[in-house]
Symmetry: none
């Protein structure tokens, strides 16, 4: 069936406005197009689902091509902190741990217990900057061209450097993990790097927020069973975890983010 021309037209005009002004307000759009706010909200929902904008309370904001980590960081800090705590038991003094890029991994870096003598390697400047404060941590920085969209050193140079490491533990920043337990990423170079470092690691862990469970991104990183440990949130649905358990993953359940301490 033919798509309704009017609604398509409206959505493209919303996008045009978004492009021009950087933001739109649902109530304004409803008035401008003489439709109900519900319709506008539906439009915004579709546009957001297809990645054309970011929905916020009251309207929508233009989707920046490269979502800076500063923005991603703002999303669910307490959930990420809780997830991070769940991974702490995997750290043992003396280990070489690779921390992949990702806002959850920054939270993980933050939650490394004070005084634990780890060697940490990372290609993510923000994580390195945070860990450089910790005198007890030996920090290995992986260099290369820093991808603006991802926020970490990627590409040939970074991979050549990373190829010299054999980490005891690699903490992947996951973009998606499907029902079978295969891990995938949105960005090609990022996926290549993740694959490389995961293969070189004795053990691979990750932590995912519930919304990433059961999703799959374009570029595969690990096949089912490739992940040794996975931290999930307290509210993760059981049926999504059932398939994972069969692959031999050790599941680490985070506490509900309400109670625990929030340290800076």
């Amino acid at each position: 069936m033919q798509p309704d021309l009017l609604s398509r037209e409206r959505q493209s005009q919303i996008l045009a406005r978004l492009e021009a002004e950087g933001r739109v307000i649902a109530a304004d759009l409803a008035r401008a197009f003489a439709v109900s706010e519900d319709t506008v909200r539906r439009d915004l929902r579709e546009l957001a689902a297809s990645g054309h904008c970011t929905r916020v309370y009251g309207g929508a904001l233009r989707r920046e091509a490269a979502t800076p980590m500063a923005t991603r960081l703002r999303e669910a800090p307490e959930r990420k902190a809780a997830l991070a705590e769940a991974l702490v038991p995997l750290f043992r003094p003396g280990m070489l741990v690779f921390l992949d890029v990702g806002s959850t991994n920054l939270a993980i870096a933050r939650s490394i217990p004070k005084g634990m003598a780890l060697t940490v390697a990372t290609h993510t400047p923000v994580i390195a900057a945070m860990l450089a404060e910790r005198a007890e941590i030996t920090l290995i920085l992986i260099g290369g061209r820093v991808s603006t969209g991802i926020g970490a050193a990627l590409g040939g140079a970074a991979e050549r450097e990373a190829a010299r490491l054999a980490p005891d533990l690699c903490v992947l920043g996951a973009c998606g993990i499907d029902a079978m337990g295969s891990v995938s990423a949105q960005d090609y170079d990022d996926a290549c790097f993740k694959r490389l470092i995961a293969e070189r690691s004795a053990s691979v862990a990750s932590a995912v927020t519930t919304d990433k469970l059961g999703t799959r991104a374009p570029f595969a990183i690990l096949p089912p069973g490739g992940l040794d440990h996975l931290a999930v949130e307290a509210d993760a649905p059981r049926d999504a975890l059932a398939g994972l358990a069969e692959t031999g993953i050790t599941l680490l359940h985070a506490d509900a983010p309400g109670e625990k301490h929030a340290k800076i």
Copy 2:
């Protein structure tokens, strides 16, 4: 003024202010955005929870890492910002600029004009983390073992990587510059790295606060005449500069910093 900003936008603008000025005051923000101070405090609380700023009584401060370097930056932020501005004219679009470690160099990175398309290389995670947010800047990260005391990648691995660069401009973080214009550093590895990258650069610049003028540190970096440009403060004593001028250095005089007292 009506509070017609979406909350997400308001938080972004607060972050922008924080980035630009280094601190914000809750009461000012409440007036600027026409919301109650409670709302501003809530915003600051969220931003602080996600690690974007440090809350203080009365407002918030830009989050500086607790590295020795960032600690030093806190000592005279206005002076360093003024010094940084003095070096801006050296930057031209398309250049490859190496930013050495140092608190003043972080201020310099911050003062690179918005929209200027530079390629910046650095071995300093804090600087890299700051520049990774700038889409127009191509960022090259030099990896290696991060020295805790210095806050940058140093040693063999870092030097081998840096040896592949031929920067148009190198901005050295100086530890001391004596009356003849020879530059020196406190740390051996740091001095080695500085020497290497300076020799590979077409042009070498530095910025020093007045207290470093006429001092000498244990490890030599550059002989007299090795420095092409030097930014000095407005209150730098003339007699200290007299000897420098003879070596052929181009002196860049910073404006006097505003006389505001850092109240927070």
